[in-house]
Subunit: 325 residues, 2 copies
């Protein structure tokens, strides 16, 4: 209090407009106003009459000095100033009450919002599954979703437009700025037409056996895409058709125009005339999928809950995928 010396005289004259009052005083004031008696109000609050008397006294001087109550022989009664203050006191109490309630709702993930993004194949099963479970469990949380590639999502995350981003491992991105929550490791599959020579193969396929195949890929150049792995296997895949969308890709594969790499998350939506072959993980390491958040920024309970649901969904999806073939 020493640094305040000289600014306010004794006890709380309004310094820069905001009087120093405790909500305790406010509650006491309202209780006294309701009962018209210090003693009765004190009994209701579990305090002695003397405490109430001094609380009110303190409030009066904090508010500028004017009395809020007339002290009558039989209890007290609001002055005009007191009547005026009742409204403000109730507003203050109401604000704080409401604040506590909303913060509690936030804490229990019964309110607030989750803004998240995901890359497209995650939307095939993982995200819808998680969303359904989350909606059921936390109906009060507003959810906004967006789709995009990993770099773009991370960018949006850093800019504060997203709370969470479902991303896959990406070389070159500065991951120090993010906290990664591991969701699942997805093996890769190769999609071949139903009658393809390799279709009957037993067990994982070595990537090298597809060195001469024609590829359907989202990009003409393999660098930075899933086909990256082929480079490390010593061959440069020939991209016959550039097709971005997974549904379209399947059509090309089914028509026998080439083969395509498929991340495990997309296996749920494969058409019957396309066969998926698991790739040997020695050639193509599992691609890890993470939920990324900004490092150092605490997850709101709603976001935390959503992350939990995402984890569950990941387990269920990964299990289902491996069971399906």
């Amino acid at each position: 209090m020493s640094s305040m010396a000289g600014m306010s005289s004794t006890h709380g004259g309004a310094r820069d407009g905001l009087p120093e009052v405790s909500t305790v005083w406010v509650r006491v004031f309202l209780e006294v106003a309701r009962h018209g008696s210090f003693t009765v109000a004190g009994r209701h609050l579990g305090w002695t009459q003397s405490a109430v008397s001094r609380q009110v006294s303190a409030l009066e001087s904090a508010l500028g000095g004017g009395p809020l109550f007339d002290r009558l022989p039989r209890g007290v009664r609001l002055t005009e100033a007191g009547r005026t203050f009742v409204g403000y006191a109730e507003a203050v109490a109401e604000s704080l009450h409401e604040a506590v309630r909303e913060l509690a709702a936030l804490r229990e993930a019964a309110g607030g919002q989750v803004r998240f993004g995901a890359f497209s194949t995650a939307d095939a099963a993982l995200v819808p599954c998680a969303l359904a479970a989350f909606r059921a469990r936390h109906p009060g949380v507003r959810i906004s979703r967006e789709e995009g590639l990993t770099p773009r999502l991370l960018e949006r995350l850093a800019a504060g437009h997203l709370d969470l981003a479902v991303v896959s491992t990406t070389q070159g991105a500065p991951m120090e700025a993010y906290t990664l929550h591991h969701l699942l490791d997805e093996p890769l599959y190769v999609a071949v037409p139903a009658g393809h020579p390799l279709a009957g193969a037993d067990g994982p396929v070595r990537l090298a056996r597809l060195a001469d195949a024609e590829w359907i890929s989202g990009s003409a150049r393999p660098e930075g895409t899933l086909l990256d792995a082929a480079l490390r296997q010593g061959f440069r895949p020939r991209v016959a058709h550039v097709v971005a969308e997974w549904t379209a890709k399947q059509g090309y594969v089914a028509a026998g125009l080439g083969v395509a790499l498929v991340p495990a998350l997309a296996v749920a939506s494969v058409r019957p005339d396309v066969t998926l072959l698991p790739l040997d993980t020695a050639d193509v390491p599992c691609r890890a999928v993470y939920a990324a958040s900004v490092r150092g920024r605490s997850l709101s309970p709603a976001v935390g809950a959503f992350l939990g649901v995402l984890r569950e969904a990941a387990v269920s999806v990964a299990g289902g995928a491996s069971r399906s073939r």
Copy 2:
């Protein structure tokens, strides 16, 4: 605090919805939110960083335990809970700020209201004069006025519908419930037609000389009215005409239909063909005029100021009245 033991654990969990929060914490919170730093906020508020840290910490636990800020290596940043609370904190600060301002206005009689009543003859000069002066001096104060007889006004006062009542001495009313602020003593006059035998009398008139006169009065029976004095003089005045309104009374007097008692406050509005004769104060004691307020109930500053103006007006009116005749 001992009686609170067992209700709240350590430090301010919301008891019945209202958290125990000091406005100091709120101000510190807003300052920290504005600057994004405990240290900077502390400097602005004249406190040390440790104090700010604990203030925020206390606020966080009072609000339910969730952190309001993310502690980053380079300052702090609002969490979602913190962002949510900003609005409420500002609402609280705004309410209290506004309360202080309005209470200050009230205290300086720059706001609030004055509800007063007055008996009719006071409205002839005293009340308008006071109103004009008060309006000029305190333009922010709302004034409501009503008219009535003294008993009715006191009743309204006790019921809390009035702050102040301009009344005259009345027998029989329980005056212990009121505080009387003396305004003036008004002598009584008798109004006679211009050609009346007594019109030329020098000096005060004895009431007994009017024992045979016919009277114009507001009531058929003299008891409780100004004519009460006649009873004490040993004669019962004959009321020829019952006329309530002073303007009408004058007409009857001017027409020679009788004489009428006139309180000094009404002398300002006398017509030229009516002569006013002062009555001997030995027969008819001066009637005191008071401003009455409820005993024990403090006068709001606006009401107090109005009372002061009434006193000034009383001096001016009384002086003018005595000068005029």
